[in-house]
């Protein structure tokens, strides 16, 4: 009896062991693609980039390690001015996208009737994946000297000669806001969609003004969507290349252009890598600050949209 029981018990234990092994093997098999992706395509390349940025060419094929590339960056005002300019303009674009986009998202999620809501949201989702290149191209056709708007204004007699609307900062900002605003609106609509209308009603019933309700109820509720939209929009703007160059022309002084210049035109990869790391450090710091200040995490903002 006892022997049989022991036998059954050990067989059971064996099966549990096998199951445990299978589970562990499955976990390893699932973990492998993730680990390879992150390690080989994200972590190692970024370490490589930083390592390269710390290397300096002192003679052909002779290199020295040091902070030379970063010191060059500090000593050359054009470089850090460009980074500063890219940063401030990106923040401005993010703020504008939020200010312009929030009322649109609120209208789609809360005010439009059921049928209009779906249609309007679809109108936002479909052009989401149209290339920056086509968007910028469209703006060029509208805004350049021989473009649609200039021709139209001459035809109406409002202006006597052609006007060039391209190649100035206002156009670059409008173009950038245009390129990224849907990435602001879509997460905002998803967040606001989940808000119960009775929350807003309760706010009004308790005597809140429209502004108080917005500030105390709607904005706090929409915070994950706001933060998510701002992070993605800021990153896309600071890292954008086509829009500033095509709409701003030669003098757009966008930082990604400097990186391209170092890498492709001057073939100075060491300094290009340093610039790349500086851009990454800058955007990461701003995103990190935004998350800390708003009390959100990457997992409940960007991961949800």
């Amino acid at each position: 009896m006892v022997g049989a029981a022991r036998h059954v018990l050990s067989a059971k234990r064996g099966r549990v062991m096998v199951q445990k092994d299978v589970r562990r093997l499955t976990l390893i098999l699932l973990f492998a693609p993730f680990a390879m992706w992150i390690a080989l395509l994200i972590v190692v390349p970024h370490i490589g980039m930083v390592a390269l940025s710390l290397r300096e060419k002192v003679a052909p094929r002779v290199y020295e390690y040091g902070l030379g590339n970063y010191i060059d960056f500090i000593n050359e005002p054009i470089y850090w001015n460009t980074l500063l300019r890219t940063g401030t303009m990106s923040l401005l674009v993010t703020a504008l996208a939020l200010l312009i986009g929030f009322p649109i998202a609120y209208y789609i999620a809360k005010i439009a009737g059921n049928r209009t809501r779906g249609a309007l949201f679809l109108l936002c989702l479909i052009p989401l994946w149209v290339s920056d290149l086509i968007r910028a191209f469209g703006w060029i056709l509208l805004l350049r000297e021989t473009g649609v708007i200039s021709t139209f204004l001459q035809w109406t007699g409002l202006i006597s000669g052609p006007i060039e609307f391209l190649y100035n900062d206002v156009t670059v900002i409008i173009g950038l806001v245009y390129t990224v605003i849907l990435f602001m609106i879509v997460p905002l609509v998803s967040t606001l969609d989940g808000m119960d209308d009775s929350l807003v009603e309760a706010g009004y019933n308790l005597g809140g003004s429209g502004f108080t309700v917005l500030r105390r109820i709607i904005v706090p509720y929409a915070m994950p969507g706001i933060v998510s939209g701002c992070i993605v929009v800021f990153m896309l703007t600071a890292g954008s290349y086509l829009t500033p160059i095509l709409l701003g022309g030669k003098n757009s002084s966008w930082f990604t252009e400097q990186i391209y210049d170092q890498f492709i035109t001057r073939f100075n990869w060491e300094s290009g890598a340093a610039f790349g790391f500086l851009l990454l450090a800058f955007t990461s710091t701003v995103i990190w600050l935004g998350l800390k200040l708003s009390g959100q995490t990457l997992a409940n903002t960007v991961a949800k949209s």
């Binding site: 009322p103 086509i134 391209y260 890498f263």
Partner: protein, 285 residues
């Protein structure tokens, strides 16, 4: 809204929304419309309707379907997008199982690590992969005399570069769907004597299929329109966005670019519609 706002405010609000959608449409309409203008320049005045910029086979109005370079760009874009979407849906699916079903240390931290590629500027992903691949290629070349051509800029690197951040998108889409899965369905099948593999094949994966298709379409679209990451990794096989940019920089704007824009907008619009329609499927809730 529950509290009825004053009429002028409501009308003002509506006018604002309308103005926004006009703003949204204007450049896209401009880019698309001039594809049909019978003129050598994409500008007013309107010279009459034509399909030459699509189908004509002689210069100076060479249509896009006879333009070898553009067609080759389209072909490379297509090949790259197919590879990227297949790979990223595969890894996205394993990631979804890993993070929804798996139990392992630092799970929450690693989940955030999975999201991070989406907030790294595309230019940086491009240069970092370029740097590491070239270093490896040089190392093998100089040290061992082996020429690893695939580590030089070209289709392979473009696929890797796009895959590196598109996988985050597919992982998030598929994870969201897997989280909604009712585990009792799997248990029921197991109790009825099905093997784990059979359960996966007949129950879990069919449940995930809409999300996998939608993720694949989004990956395809993002890959197709990508410029920033691709710019640094491209070799002689330039995909369409790069070819178009080259043409714009060298030749200036010509209506054939409008034709390509129109073609891409219609194509990506239709694909986006399909992905939305597929995801609407609400079999299990």
């Amino acid at each position: 809204m529950a509290r009825s706002a004053p009429a002028p405010f409501v009308w003002g609000y509506r006018a604002y929304v309308l103005a926004f959608f006009l703003f949204l449409a204007a450049p896209l309409v401009a880019a698309g419309t001039f594809a049909f203008n019978d003129s050598l320049f994409p500008a007013l005045p309107w010279q009459g309707f034509t399909l030459d910029w699509f189908f004509n086979d002689t210069e100076p109005k060479l249509g896009m379907f006879h333009d070898r370079r553009l067609l080759r760009g389209l072909y490379y874009s297509f090949v790259i997008a197919i590879f990227v979407s297949t790979l990223s849906v595969f890894v996205g699916t394993t990631n979804a199982f890993l993070f929804v079903r798996g139990q392992f240390p630092f799970k929450n931290t690693l989940y955030i690590v999975m999201v991070i590629p989406l907030v790294i500027p595309g230019v940086i992903l491009g240069i970092s992969i370029l740097v590491i691949a070239s270093n490896m290629a040089n190392y093998f070349d100089r040290g061992l005399g082996i020429d690893l051509d695939f580590l030089r800029p070209g289709i392979f690197l473009v696929v890797l570069g796009q895959f590196s951040f598109i996988t985050t998108i597919t992982s998030l889409v598929i994870t969201a769907r897997l989280k909604k899965f009712d585990a009792t369905m799997e248990e029921a099948a197991l109790n009825l004597g099905a093997t784990r593999l059979r359960v996966l094949r007949t129950i879990t994966l069919p449940f995930l299929r809409p999300a996998m298709i939608a993720a694949g379409i989004v990956a395809f679209l993002v890959s197709f329109e990508n410029f920033n990451t691709t710019l640094f990794l491209v070799g002689s096989e330039a995909p369409l966005t790069i070819t178009m940019y080259d043409r714009m920089a060298k030749v200036g704007s010509t209506p054939v670019l409008n034709a390509v824009s129109f073609f891409l907008m219609v194509g990506s619009g239709l694909l986006a519609l399909v992905s939305i329609a597929v995801q609407r499927d609400k079999t299990v809730r």
